[in-house]
Symmetry: C2
Subunit: 391 residues, 2 copies
């Protein structure tokens, strides 16, 4: 390949919602029935790295994900590319010297630093990295919120991965989705001591995919409308305020209540949808017992559309939160960077309740924390001679 | 004991709600936050037999339940006895010839024909039999609905066990509970071909008792108010109509939806309450797959405050409903009275999905059907010489 290959790389984070997105008011545009809030997790532990490249020699848009070719011929991906090319065209129209990248095909190479199969919202990081890398390649002047609208069309919750720290996805009201975008509630620096322990739960059954699950809930749950119209709007304001005040007790209580509420409307669907299993339920019980022993909320669980538990806690409570988790899950992978000698079981915890069975069903622990939004990187995953993935 | 021992015996049935009672507006009077509906189950399979006796020689009110003495000194039991004695006093006041039974202490002996531990609403049958036996002993002229108000004070859902067939508990609106009573929606004879298969699920954990669970839901669930104010009142009318029309498809759909809704508000409580476990979820899946294969609703699950599945179906579909259940649970106790040669798996059922694991967690099958309300019996559990239980 003699022709020049334009390229740019970005990384993007996973985010785990503390106020859940569940339900679309427009399926094609991924417009939600309620606003949501999430914490962006550190890319040291969980991130997607994407190189976007284009060249006049490339014959079609192509994506490689973790080494395997993937179709870009899906309506959602096409919508993202189309929006990005439209912005690039505007730039090119305003400055004739710019190369006509919008007319070239794209080769995208993307890699996660965590197993996709773990059910860890990889599509959010994936679409955020895709949009960020192409926006960088195209040198687009658009803001992160503007880009979040594009990422949203790829995968709803991906819009929240365009920011670091604490992020809200404002549902908006326009029919075309032009005001349904992510905004930053608070930066990483505002409240840097938020930690997250992820308990990866093995699941033998295939869950209902979230897109079809959402639609089933919207169509059949009698409680859903009340959740989105009455419960979530209040909780949205309360949670933003708790973040701004760095009030973990309120933040944690709202987080747990919203996870419960989301799984409630899944169960109220017809036929019912279950994402929590008996292992998930033990994780909930564990957090409740810990908070009872502490006499306040020091840990808050939340569950997405799957059985994995994400437990948020503050740095100042790491000793007792990880102390308990290490006692139960200490034999699993994930403790490499923890000084376990410093951990302890909180006084008053009913340790006699805990036996071998409590660790069953959990396959792995991921210890992470609040992190940055998409980052530029010099790493290049595309072989600039062949236009194919390096590995 | 030389003195005369007055005595009378009654049996009373278990009922399993198809529209659930969950939430009290008055804890002392057991006044519910919503009306409910149930099917009374046959006493051939599940019943409490109670002998009520009284004598001037008895020194205090005493209850023996399944051979063990139990305190009658609880506020609920005392309220029941007080109400029944008040009615008896009225009778005695109007007819001087009547013996003053209201002034004598009671010896009550009660036996279930099923294990109490199975979590099968034994308190409903228990209080219904207690009230029926004493009302018979006292020769009270009150109607079954009047007596249901007394049984309700003992255990809310007990009021529905005062009738056979299809029963509604009308929540009422009076502060003293005088209009919160059971009424018969339809007799056993109106729709006699309703069957019920109970899958008794073993549970190692202690559930949240229903009284404290209800209060937690009332106090903490954001979705609960919507359930009782908007969802249940409509469903109550629809379910009564479905029973009157003998429309199993509608009845079954409403039954399943209301079970889902009840467990949703449990999960939406804070901390969340879980009564369904992974075994319960497999039972739900099984019923859904069966209905899909049948192309209509031929079976309807419902779960009370525990993991046991109760599956309602019509006699005309027994071959395919029990065919499937027998394939999975055929090794368990409970098939003694079934001609299993007549059973078959419905065409199109994905039998390949079913493996050994599907029967795990279920300990026993109870096959029963709609049945009568309380019945008089000549059986006497009290030794008339000693005033103590015969056994």
């Amino acid at each position: 390949m003699s022709d020049f290959v334009y390229h740019a790389s970005s990384t993007a984070p996973v985010n785990i919602a503390t106020l859940k997105y569940w339900g679309k008011r427009d399926k094609d545009l991924n417009l939600p029935t309620n606003s949501s809030i999430s914490v962006t997790l550190s890319q040291k532990d969980l991130r997607t790295l994407t190189t976007a490249s284009c060249s006049s020699q490339f014959t079609k848009d192509t994506l490689w994900l973790n080494g395997s070719p993937h179709s870009m011929d899906t309506p959602r991906t096409k919508q993202c590319l189309n929006d990005l090319r439209t912005y690039r065209k505007e730039l090119e129209a305003s400055n004739e010297k710019l190369p006509k990248l919008s007319e070239m095909n794209l080769h995208i190479v993307s890699e996660n630093n965590f197993p996709t199969a773990a059910g860890l919202a990889s599509s959010a990081a994936g679409f955020a990295a895709l949009v960020s890398a192409i926006a960088k390649l195209y040198e687009l002047p658009q803001s992160a919120s503007d880009l979040s609208i594009i990422a949203r069309k790829g995968s709803g919750s991906a819009c929240r991965s365009l920011f670091g720290g604490y992020v809200a996805w404002e549902m908006g009201s326009e029919a075309d989705g032009s005001d349904s975008k992510a905004v930053q509630v608070a930066t990483l620096e505002h409240w840097p001591d938020m930690k997250a322990a992820i308990l990866v739960v093995s699941d033998d059954k295939k869950d209902v995919p979230s897109t079809s699950g959402m639609q089933l809930t919207v169509q059949t749950s009698d409680l859903f409308k009340h959740r989105v119209e009455e419960v979530v709007p209040k909780r949205f304001l309360q949670m933003k305020e708790a973040i701004l005040k760095k009030d973990f007790e309120t933040f944690g209580e709202l987080t747990m209540k919203d996870s419960n509420s989301f799984h409630s409307v899944c169960l109220d669907s017809y036929p019912p949808i279950f994402y929590l299993n008996d292992t998930s339920k033990r994780c909930i019980k564990l957090v409740n017992l810990l908070n009872e022993a502490a006499g306040k909320i020091v840990a808050a669980y939340t569950f997405d559309a799957g059985p994995n538990a994400v437990i948020y806690y503050l740095q100042e409570n790491e000793e007792i939160v990880l102390g308990l988790l290490h006692k139960i899950f200490g034999k699993l992978q994930g403790w490499e960077n923890v000084d376990t000698a410093k951990l302890s079981i909180i006084d008053g915890f009913p340790v006699n309740l805990i036996d071998e069975s409590w660790s069953s069903g959990v396959s792995k622990v991921i210890l992470t924390e609040v992190g940055d939004g998409p980052l530029d990187t010099d790493e290049v995953l595309v072989d600039l001679k062949t236009g194919l993935p390096k590995n």
